[in-house]
Symmetry: C2
Amino acid sequence: MSLIVVGSVAYDGVTTPHGKIDRMLGGAATYIALAASYFTPVKIVAVVGDDFAQEDVDLLKSRHIDLDGMERVAGGKTFFWAGVYSADMNERTTLRTDLNVFAGFNPRLPESYRSAPYLLLGNIQPALQKSVRAQMNSVKLAGGDTMNYWINDFRAQLLETIREWDFLLINDSEARLLSGEHNLRRAAAKILGMGPHTLVIKRGEFGAVLFRRDGHFIAPGYLLEDVFDPTGAGDCFAGGFIGYLAGRGVEVLNGEINIAELRKAVIYGSVMGSFCCEKFGVDRFRTLTREEMEARYREFQNCTAF
Amino acid sequence: MSLIVVGSVAYDGVTTPHGKIDRMLGGAATYIALAASYFTPVKIVAVVGDDFAQEDVDLLKSRHIDLDGMERVAGGKTFFWAGVYSADMNERTTLRTDLNVFAGFNPRLPESYRSAPYLLLGNIQPALQKSVRAQMNSVKLAGGDTMNYWINDFRAQLLETIREWDFLLINDSEARLLSGEHNLRRAAAKILGMGPHTLVIKRGEFGAVLFRRDGHFIAPGYLLEDVFDPTGAGDCFAGGFIGYLAGRGVEVLNGEINIAELRKAVIYGSVMGSFCCEKFGVDRFRTLTREEMEARYREFQNCTAF
């Protein structure tokens, strides 16, 4: 079933120990949409400038991603970010952030988007996330991401926004900041009191933990032999997670949700995040096949079963 | 089947955010032996001074641990270590190391130990580990631990020693140092070329990975709500791992070993390591029951199955 993905579509300049790319397609919504597109039809809500290249439009279209909600600002330039990764790729330093047209992003959903049943809100200002939710007719599952900046400086707005969400996908440091608890289990318990019934805490190379009131599920990180570029891995995780759930039509019925499907969604999120790191930017998604995904899913089964 | 455990028996002074204990029973061999004693009969090889308290002897004896190989040096003092943990307990600073009688430790196995089929060599000088191995008649499985100091300054001796081992249990930073590879999978491949057919890389709160030439198994860290004192957790992991294998009589036959049992051993190692952190020092092992262990093993199953 259709999934709406809201967030940044951008150009990135990335330097890793494996090389340097001055300008390539990036942005949270791009990664989320590409990853999710392997599971379900995706519709993007975003803004770009008139420098947005036809070949990038073509890539998104080749994955059958609906771009009716991608506004193109005449005379504007697309969001640009540049950063460099440390030798072990566990840290990155931002070199440049040109918001450009993204500074004025005010997401408006085309009529054709409003009755989509699934919604993934990428990391943008919480009030904008809330306004998107309000434009939808009704959704089976809605949720998204946030970041330190919104947690620190837009806390009230953020709490009001996530109160309406089914799920929240954040990393461990964000979970600690949002909850004020260092311990992951305590942090999760507090966040599950803020609205979402489902919380996924991403732990980078160490995988992810799915928390619900009645228990948790721990997924390992895939042990890659070469990490070329970790940019977008967390967003691809989100795309795989919600994409799988949308593809399977998972929803909350009488306050219950299929836990087995949620667990599989976390593994598919991990699968997509792991592929993302294998090449620069979105390049892995130019060739990735469903067969490769299923083989990696089975690898996750093999390396965790006992 | 009987397991020989060689290493330090010590007194520790530990400060964590939860409190401070000036002097309590510690040492790698102590933790390994206590954890392993839940699975199999254990015989300790160690050295203590005449300050070693009867109540500590009594604790070890209450777990049916054979102390015939624990030398007591008249007029000597037991190894003492003191350290303080950071607020998040991910780092620790050594405040004091008094080797005392441990400086002259030259492990000699009583006759009654020599035909034991399982051997766990705690972190001591590699030449001493090798000499212990040479004193054994024949073993089904032998292996152990090491540390940065031996890897850096006693490399040739260490390589000669581990060449004879079935398994090596080290943490991720030691694996990187030993192999010269940052990537865990590449590091493991190199180390598996040094002799051991089985490698367990411990990742602290993120669990452990079992590597063999034909594949790997990833075990998550148990998500504790309160970590009182992480001292000894890695040694308890080792004790649970080898203790389980010894208790089940697992061995290499025609170059093959039971992989399912190895995986379970990693989980029992994780179970014992997690319990260790719940109280100061060895205190959790004063009350721990087999039923609690089995319940936690099932928790590991529940939080990893998909």
